[in-house]
């Protein structure tokens, strides 16, 4: 079982863009038709007395007041991708709203009202591009119809611009002046709604500044810990030092003696398995302010039963995992006969690749505010990627009906998958109930690195065969890593089909004999998903191995990749994976794996980076390409060694095909940031466990790159495309790491087989 693994939750693609048109007064009734899809409901307010502001709200995402104020609801969580701007931008463009005056409000967590709000898996734009266009277009049709009626002209002669309807004669009317007319108009038949031509868009496909830019730079933006409630107390928690540890007893006398400390509360933890959405066992100190709570926590005396994970050593497990890859594993994909290819090969390359545990290390540590109001209502403010899961987890933990939990979503100070898990939100709810007051639970950096849902460490072994004619004939990939599912179930010993579909079983190259195998391993900590998930280690191994194979065959790595992708065509993985390839939850017919699109990004990046040029002394380049989350990416990294032997990354080149690009500035920014993020994964970051405890406590131990170590220039080339849009949050990360490793090899003559490597 894979509980809530983001991209597996998607329903059929066609469900997502379905527009339900209820009769207008039925909205509240209709909203009980919960779907993962999109609801175009009606939310009319009654007209007020003359002069009072009235509102036209043709659906839950748009409302227009008689003062001509257009408000668009952002229902996905903002953690840095720009989604809080990009989706409203789509609505505004179809509507013809004056973008400079559009107000954006954040939706609370409510699946019945807003559909899927799980902001994960790089699928917000992919899933909501069409529905958001239809949302804006429906409102536009109604406004035009009202204006046309008023003017006694044909709607075809009207268009919208800057929050006005404009007639071909030049007559204009503000949206606000049509509110009284449209609010009683029946919703149009969805079949009658026409979307704008792509070429006429003024916002879609353009650089649009994020909505919150000014608030962020002036300190006004509200993140998780920034919510203040009257009478709010602050809690910090001493959690089980080893996953599964239980409190035997505790003495809170010294903690309660700290000025400002009001209460000490034990939290009952889930034990083993720890689960993805439950609080850990711990003892919370609740105080007037954060500092008092921290001091109180230091003074706690707790006796723990540490349980079976107290002997866990990650280096030892990694070595055992590596050994296991030398044996036969469970076959997860098979084509041809690899054994025969190996027997008849002229040359067999065999390499192993190791990658460590990684922590998300969002600069905002987890924090959440809960107000349990005594009458069975619990209101939450949290930086959550998945407000609906958080809402459900709180309802479960407090044994409340779902409708008694109100989930407000703040900005997220980074997410990367960490803030999908609602454990910290559940803590706040439990503690507010115990304290009978609003409570903010505040994690410290030490808490964050100790109790993360880590990206799993991994061992891989790849064998590649080359025959006497120099042909690349066989590929045998062994991969082993504790699975995400193991966090929820101790019987999950192999990576899931979903995790393998992230860069492993979707190996795209045209090799006649392929065998992909997995091995068993167990989880001794909480495993989660980190920006691009198992694509991180799979792309590292495959991208580095492909470079070695190209070298062994005497072919340039870019030409080699193009050659091995073969003819332009759609490729299938289901027949060779026993039907288990998941394609990020999308039907392969709707989102095919097209070798032509991949070749195009490779050719583009090679051209932009001037790949064939002779480089100056002390410089080297490396290449890799990797499709993830349905987005095609190729990457070239330039490395340089100065006279003192110091290595730097002066330039990075990306080419990306993500279909239609909605906010081109935010596409580029995701790639710029992705290169920086991946540089940390490749060169500085690792979590290791001894006696079940992570050994890195803060940013001195778990290092992420700083400005002096960062890649200096990052060039992002977006392929112009009218294909369906796909996400860009995660896809920049996977190909960067092997491209960097391959560049390092050219520079130093040494191949990289283990991350992080020291540059």
């Amino acid at each position: 079982m894979m509980p809530n693994f983001p991209f597996l939750k998607n329903k059929k693609a066609e469900d997502k863009s379905e527009v339900f048109v209820p009769s207008r007064r039925d909205f509240l009734k209709l909203s009980s038709l919960a779907t993962g899809g999109f609801l175009l409901g009606v939310n009319f307010q009654c007209a007020g007395p003359k002069g009072e502001t009235i509102t036209f709200a043709p659906n839950v995402f748009v409302s227009i007041t008689s003062d001509n104020e257009v408000t668009i609801v952002a229902h996905r969580s903002e953690m840095g991708t720009g989604i809080r701007t990009s989706l409203p931008q789509i609505v505004a463009d179809e509507l013809g709203a004056d973008w400079s005056k559009v107000k954006i409000v954040q939706a609370e967590g409510d699946e019945e009202k807003y559909g899927n709000q799980n902001t994960d898996g790089s699928f917000s734009v992919r899933m909501f591009y069409e529905p958001m266009r239809k949302t804006g277009a429906t409102a536009r049709h109604m406004l035009i119809a009202a204006a046309a009626k008023k003017w006694e002209v044909s709607p075809e002669e009207c268009h919208t611009e800057n929050s006005r309807v404009i007639h071909s004669s030049g007559k204009k009317i503000d949206f606000g002046d049509l509110v009284a007319e449209v609010k009683d108009m029946p919703l149009p038949d969805p079949a009658s709604i026409t979307l704008k031509e792509f070429s006429s868009y003024k916002l879609i496909g353009k650089d649009v500044t994020i909505y919150d830019a000014r608030d962020i730079t002036t300190g006004k933006a509200v993140f998780g810990a920034d919510v203040d409630l009257p009478g709010m107390q602050v809690a910090v928690v001493r959690r089980s030092p080893v996953i599964g540890a239980k409190v035997i007893s505790f003495n809170d006398a010294k903690a309660l003696a700290v000025p400002g400390v009001n209460r000490v509360v034990k939290i009952e933890g889930a034990g083993i398995p720890p689960g993805l959405d439950k609080a850990l066992e711990g003892v919370a100190v609740i105080a007037d302010n954060t500092w008092a709570a921290m001091k109180g926590r230091e003074a706690l005396e707790i006796e723990w039963d540490l349980g079976p994970n107290q002997t866990y050593n990650s280096a030892k497990q990694l070595e055992e995992m590596l050994q296991s890859t030398a044996k036969d594993g469970k076959v997860r994909r098979e084509r041809g006969n690899f054994s025969t290819a190996q027997r008849t090969a002229e040359k067999v390359l065999e390499r192993t690749y190791l990658a460590p545990f990684y922590a998300h290390a969002t600069i905002e540590p987890p924090a959440a505010i809960a107000h349990y109001q005594g009458d069975g209502i619990c209101e939450i403010w949290a930086p959550t990627q998945h407000p609906q899961w958080a809402r459900q987890a709180v309802a479960t933990a407090l044994e409340l009906d779902l409708d008694k939990v109100k989930m407000n979503v703040t900005l997220l100070g980074g997410g990367f998958g960490r803030k999908s898990k609602p454990d910290f939100v559940v803590e706040a709810a439990i503690l507010s109930k115990a304290a009978k007051s609003p409570v903010r639970v505040q994690w410290t950096r030490e808490d964050d690195l100790h109790f993360d849902f880590f990206h799993s460490h991994s061992a891989q072994r790849i064998k590649a065969t080359i025959d006497k004619d120099g042909k690349f004939t066989g590929w045998n990939h062994h991969t082993v890593f504790p699975a995400i599912g193991a966090t929820g179930s101790t019987t999950e010993l192999h990576p899931s089909d979903g995790e393998l579909g992230l860069g492993c079983t979707d190996f795209p190259y045209d090799v006649p004999n392929i065998k992909i195998e997995t091995h068993e391993s167990t989880a001794h900590t909480r495993i989660g998903w980190l920006r691009s998930v198992s694509n991180i280690h799979h792309a590292f191994a495959i991208g580095c191995m492909m470079d070695e194979i190209a070298e062994a065959r005497g072919i340039d790595p870019v030409k080699h990749a193009l050659q091995m992708l073969g003819e332009d065509r759609n490729i299938e993985f289901k027949p060779e994976t026993d039907g288990k390839y998941e394609n990020y939850g999308e039907p392969i017919e709707t989102f095919p794996w097209n070798t032509g699109r991949m070749k195009k990004v490779i050719e583009r990046v090679a051209k932009e980076a001037n790949w064939d040029q002779k480089l100056a002394e002390g410089k080297a380049v490396g290449f890799a390409a990797h499709k993830s989350f349905l987005t095609y990416v190729a990457c070239i990294v330039v490395v340089e060694k100065d006279s003192s032997g110091k290595i730097s990354i002066p330039e990075v080149f990306y080419a990306v095909d993500c279909g239609i690009g909605v906010n081109t500035d935010r596409i580029r920014s995701q790639f710029e940031g992705g290169a920086q993020f991946a540089t940390s994964l490749a060169t500085t970051s690792a979590i290791t466990f001894e006696n079940g405890i992570p050994q890195q406590k803060n940013f001195d131990g778990y290092q992420i790159i700083r400005m002096p170590q960062s890649p200096k220039k990052i060039h992002v080339h977006i392929i112009e495309s009218m294909e369906k849009p796909t996400g860009v949050g995660e896809p920049p990360v996977p190909p960067y790491i092997p491209a960097l490793c391959n560049a390092m090899y050219k520079l130093t003559g040494e191949r990289i087989y283990q991350l992080p490597f020291k540059a």
């Binding site: 803060n698 001195d700 002096p708």
Partner: protein, 152 residues
């Protein structure tokens, strides 16, 4: 607990606090000024950067008892209108992604520009090395500092 009077953004503020309480928590919890952020508590990430007089310091590791008569400037007080050349340049280059570290980044950059109005690349890198950004906005931060330095 002791009484302290500190100057924050030109305003005298009286607080009662444990003398060890870091300035960060005085600002956030006692004065409800939320623009200064908590990131690590150990002066390793720079999210909590404010100015003491003209110097950028890490408020998470500065006990209230050591502030004395020095003037505290936070992001809220960097510019009355929120339009310091750095803030404008930050918007122009659309620097922020999640935005959480950015107030600390701007305060570090502001201290740099006070000392060195036309900083070199190397100076920028050195001065900004104490501010982490997990989203990876370093390239645009550098561009925005260069733009602001021209506007000053």
């Amino acid at each position: 607990m002791e009484k302290f009077t500190i100057s924050v953004n030109g305003k005298k503020q009286e607080v009662t606090a444990d003398p060890d309480m870091p300035l960060l928590w005085v600002l956030r919890d006692l004065l409800s000024m939320k623009g200064t952020k908590f990131g690590c508590g150990q002066a390793l990430c720079g999210a909590c950067t404010v100015h003491l007089d003209d110097e950028a310091i890490r408020s998470c590791s500065t006990p209230i008892s050591t502030v004395g008569s020095r003037k505290v400037t936070t992001i809220e007080g960097l510019d009355k209108e929120g339009q310091h050349p750095l803030q404008d340049a930050w918007v122009e280059h659309v620097v922020p992604q999640c935005g959480y570290c950015q107030t600390g980044q701007i305060m570090s950059a502001a201290a740099l520009l006070k000392k060195s109005p036309n900083p070199s690349d190397a100076e920028i890198e050195e001065s900004m090395a104490g501010n982490l950004c997990r989203c990876g906005t370093y390239n645009r931060i550098k561009e925005a500092i260069l733009t602001a330095s021209k506007a000053l």
